[in-house]
């Protein structure tokens, strides 16, 4: 919007020898460098924070970033944890580009887990070999159905999809809680609030011996390539981008807002639902009151750290996964509080947003006269 550009005229002051100046065109270098720069700044910040509480930062970083991936099992865990983050973030990104703000991937994740697990629990014997594929499809459909609610309400009643999708997270979690405390509780489970374990035919097997990562990681990589192609070469991807960049131009060109909102929410809901069933049919193996340590929310950070680009998201999901693993390892070995993971996630996002400024602006020394 031209008005806003004009507003951003930085006023000069006299004690700070630098000023921000708008670049004549966005810097391609900074576009690539902003995420790595933010990661470096996060590490420096962590270094100072650890020093401050009296822990040797070098040793701590070793525990945090090196030890978790120093075994085959550890690498498997890194990929395993990256998978749901990658899936959710890949799904969110096209919508964020299109100005459709699905904040409720966590809820769609949960419903995907419920629907997929339901198929595995109750129809396993009838479906045979088709069980697992149908569970994954069921997870996608469940996520889509949950995302359809904010889509419908926005288009019918002009409600904000931000609030509706966020509130639906809590409804989904309560629904899951009710199921595992009530009708779906394992009769042989000694009263624990959990479903019966999924049978082997309804469980994702590890990709290789000695690790837990499964085929869904590869599906995620395939989806990243597919999303890249979708955004770059298809008319639907183009329409989403126009809708986000210039809504008035979209209306002028006859691009349907309705179609964009539906498409964006179906993509993000489906991807989150797939992530949900993959967790339940993979590492967890059953339904329990909590099936996600906040993957759906962390994926929002992953999407932005990856600059909403599919390949960037693959990398940023690995980084975020490393932060989760490092946090666990630091808890065990250094007795650091688990909130250290949150500290790293938070500072990463903070520095990323700061680094993004330099894509459109640069610092110039103020000439003294």
């Amino acid at each position: 919007m031209p008005q806003r550009h004009r507003m951003a005229m930085p006023a000069e002051n006299h004690w700070w020898p630098w000023r921000l100046e708008r670049r004549s065109r966005p810097s391609a270098l900074m576009r690539l460098a902003s995420s790595p720069l933010a990661a470096v700044a996060m590490i420096i910040c962590g270094f100072v924070a650890l020093r401050f509480i009296g822990i040797d930062p070098i040793a701590a970083f070793k525990v945090f970033f090196v030890e978790p991936v120093s075994s085959l099992y550890g690498v498997g865990e890194l990929l395993l944890k990256a998978t749901p983050l990658m899936l959710c973030a890949l799904g969110l990104a096209p919508g964020y580009r299109a100005n459709v703000w699905n904040i409720g991937a966590e809820g769609q994740f949960t419903i995907g887990a419920i629907v997929g697990a339901g198929i595995g629990l109750f129809f396993n014997s009838q479906l045979g070999a088709a069980t697992l594929p149908l569970m994954l499809l069921g997870g996608i459909a469940g996520g889509m159905a949950w995302a359809a609610i904010p889509a419908f309400l926005r288009l019918r009643f002009h409600t904000s999809e931000i609030f509706v999708s966020l509130m639906l997270v809590y409804i989904a979690q309560l629904l899951l809680s009710w199921l595992v405390h009530g009708p779906w509780r394992d009769p042989a489970g000694q009263n624990f609030p959990q479903s019966p374990p999924l049978p082997d035919s309804a469980t994702l097997q590890p990709l290789f011996e000695g690790a837990r990562v499964n085929i869904v990681f590869l599906i995620g990589l395939g989806l990243a390539a597919a999303f890249w192609w979708f955004e770059r070469f298809t008319a639907a991807g183009f329409r989403l981008r126009v809708g986000g960049l210039a809504p008035a131009a979209a209306a002028y060109a006859g691009i349907s807002e309705r179609r964009n909102v539906w498409l964006a929410l179906m993509i993000s809901g489906g991807a989150a639902g797939l992530a949900g069933i993959s967790e339940v049919a993979g590492p967890i193996g059953m339904l329990q009151p909590v099936v996600s340590p906040g993957y759906g929310f962390a994926a929002i950070i992953v999407a932005f750290v990856g600059r909403l680009h599919p390949f960037g998201i693959v990398l940023s999901s690995l980084l975020m996964s490393a932060l989760y693993l490092g946090g666990e390892s630091a808890q065990v070995e250094l007795q650091l509080p688990s909130s250290v993971t949150g500290l790293f996630q938070g500072t990463l996002l903070f520095f990323l947003l700061a680094a993004e400024l330099f894509i459109h602006f640069r610092l110039r020394p103020v000439a003294r006269t």
Binding site: M1, Q3, M9, H14, R25, F238, A246, Y252
Partner: protein, 520 residues
């Protein structure tokens, strides 16, 4: 310095002002003087360096070299605030207003003076009536047309009681009467001792209003003149560097009715919008029909009703190429052959942060004649779109760094040439154009007008909505006037004296009825 020996130093003196952007010379060694009470024109085409020079004078940009003196004393501006303190105030061509706030709130933000909203509103009303710029201080800006926003901008500047007022193309959206009132205002301000820098390319106005003119071309001063002593052709030659051809509109028998409005009525959604009341109009193949009127009289609503951005309830109120079209979507109307150039170029006619190629895909998704069709089986045809963008750039002499340039990187005039070119090359049967040459320089305006005439000669039906009466007289076969949401008859331009149009603009006419079109 010689000036110091004089009794009164000029209010503003520029000496040897130079500014480069990334190697491109915007201004080179510019000298300019403005005295108290002088109306000084800065004349030049788009890209001649007028805007850069004005940004330097208003403290927004710092020159690489050169000297600025104010009342004989050298000054250095560290920012717009410094210039404002001296009394230098600029009316921008693009208005920096917050759309979600009211007029008075916007002005309160910009001036930062300590007074209540009621006091400020009273001052706004006072200034706006005194200088013939009627605005309601409590209106929300987003509901105002471009012309109305400009009034807000001018009033905002006058509230600061400037010593030097810079006006950038101020009349481009005003009705003839309003221009006369504005000129009265400006003369009165100058008489009271205010200096005025007046940026324009409208030679008539400059000759009527300005005491002196500095002419820029490619960043350097190519001459100074007393405009009253010059002819239009002389000034134009100085500005462009060569003789200019004129548009030629040759009489031509029109064909079948391609666009018809039949008692088109629409209640405004927006409390400050204009409701359209029983509009009737026919536009035939091979003719250009113009709609004149002061902005805010229903033009915005009429455009989006015809384009399909806000479809109507009654299918029959608009007929497009013989079919009922009132309820159809934008895409369907485009498929039937409607093309549209909106008045907002950046953000509506083009996506600012997309390349020119992608901006061709925007409206060229569907095949149109032998061109377009940039989406096939759901996939983008970038190669074809690139070729189309390149040809458009060449054919319409769009200054840019190629089809990969972002739309936002083009100047207003060049982007307009591109959008007009794009729409014309997509084989329109009916072409709707709003403000075709607003803020566009002489050369580009000529090219755009000629392109519209050529389009008409090829048999398209063209409807032009413009606030520039001169332009409408140049290119239209017939002319109608819109006022307060009503539309007059469309009479042949040769039978319609400008005075009558001026009267019609106030709403003094019998509205056209559905049967009138048969005569026309």
């Amino acid at each position: 310095m010689a000036e110091h020996n004089q009794t009164v130093a000029p209010r503003l003196t520029l000496q040897g002002i130079s500014k480069r952007y990334a190697g491109v010379v915007a201004n080179e060694g510019i000298d300019l003087q403005v005295s108290a009470g002088e109306i000084h024109a800065v004349l030049g085409e788009n890209g001649a360096g007028k805007s850069t020079l004005m940004k330097i004078v208003s403290g927004v940009t710092r020159p690489d070299a050169g000297r600025i003196e104010w009342d004989g004393h050298p000054v250095v501006f560290h920012g717009p605030a410094d210039a404002r303190r001296l009394g230098i105030v600029m009316v921008f061509q693009h208005f920096s207003l917050f759309e979600t706030l009211t007029v008075v709130e916007n002005i309160a933000l910009a001036t930062g003076e300590r007074m209540t909203m009621a006091q400020l509103a009273a001052r706004i009303t006072g200034i706006s009536t005194r200088y013939g710029l009627p605005i309601d201080p409590h209106r929300l800006v987003h509901s105002m047309s471009v012309g109305e926003r400009q009034r807000v901008e001018i009033v905002r500047c006058l509230l600061q009681q400037p010593k030097l007022l810079i006006l950038d193309e101020p009349t481009s959206v005003l009705a003839p009467q309003a221009v006369r009132v504005l000129f009265e205002t400006l003369r009165r301000l100058a008489h009271e001792g205010m200096s005025i820098l007046y940026i324009s390319h409208k030679l008539d106005e400059i000759r009527e209003l300005c005491d002196t003119a500095t002419v820029l071309r490619n960043g350097v001063v190519v001459g100074t003149a007393v405009p009253r002593e010059q002819s239009n052709a002389g000034l134009a030659r100085l500005m462009v560097g060569r003789e200019l051809p004129a548009c030629r509109l040759e009489a031509r028998a029109p064909g079948a009715v391609q666009l018809e409005l039949i008692n088109l009525s629409r209640t405004a959604d927006d409390p400050f919008g204009t409701s359209l009341r029983a509009l009737c109009l026919r536009v035939r193949a091979g003719e250009i029909v113009g709609i004149a009127g002061v902005s805010g009289n229903g033009q915005k609503e009429l455009q989006s009703a015809i384009s399909g951005e806000t479809p109507l309830q009654e299918a029959g109120a608009i007929r497009l190429c013989g079919q009922q079209a009132g309820r159809l979507t934008v895409s369907t109307r485009r498929a039937m052959g409607l093309r549209f150039v909106p008045e907002d170029r950046l953000g509506r006619g083009a996506v600012p942060d997309m390349s020119l190629t992608d901006n061709c895909i925007l409206t060229g998704a569907r095949a149109a004649g032998s061109r377009g069709g940039f989406v096939r089986r759901g996939l983008l045809q970038r190669r074809a779109a690139r070729a189309f963008a390149r040809e458009t750039i060449d054919q319409y002499a769009v200054k840019c760094e190629g089809e990969r340039s972002l739309a936002a990187s083009l100047s207003g005039g060049n982007l307009q040439k591109f959008i007009v070119g794009r729409e014309i090359r997509l084989a329109p049967r009916v072409m709707l154009v709003a403000q075709p040459t607003w803020g566009v320089d002489i050369n580009a305006s000529l090219r755009i007008r000629q392109a519209l005439i050529d389009l008409r000669n090829q048999g398209a039906a063209v409807l032009v909505i413009s606030e520039e009466l001169d332009e409408l007289y140049m290119i239209c076969d017939r002319l109608a006037v819109v006022a307060a949401g009503r539309l007059s008859q469309a009479l042949p331009t040769v039978q319609l004296p400008p005075d009558t149009v001026g009267v019609w603009m106030t709403g003094e006419f019998d509205a056209a009825t559905a049967s009138d079109g048969h005569a026309g």
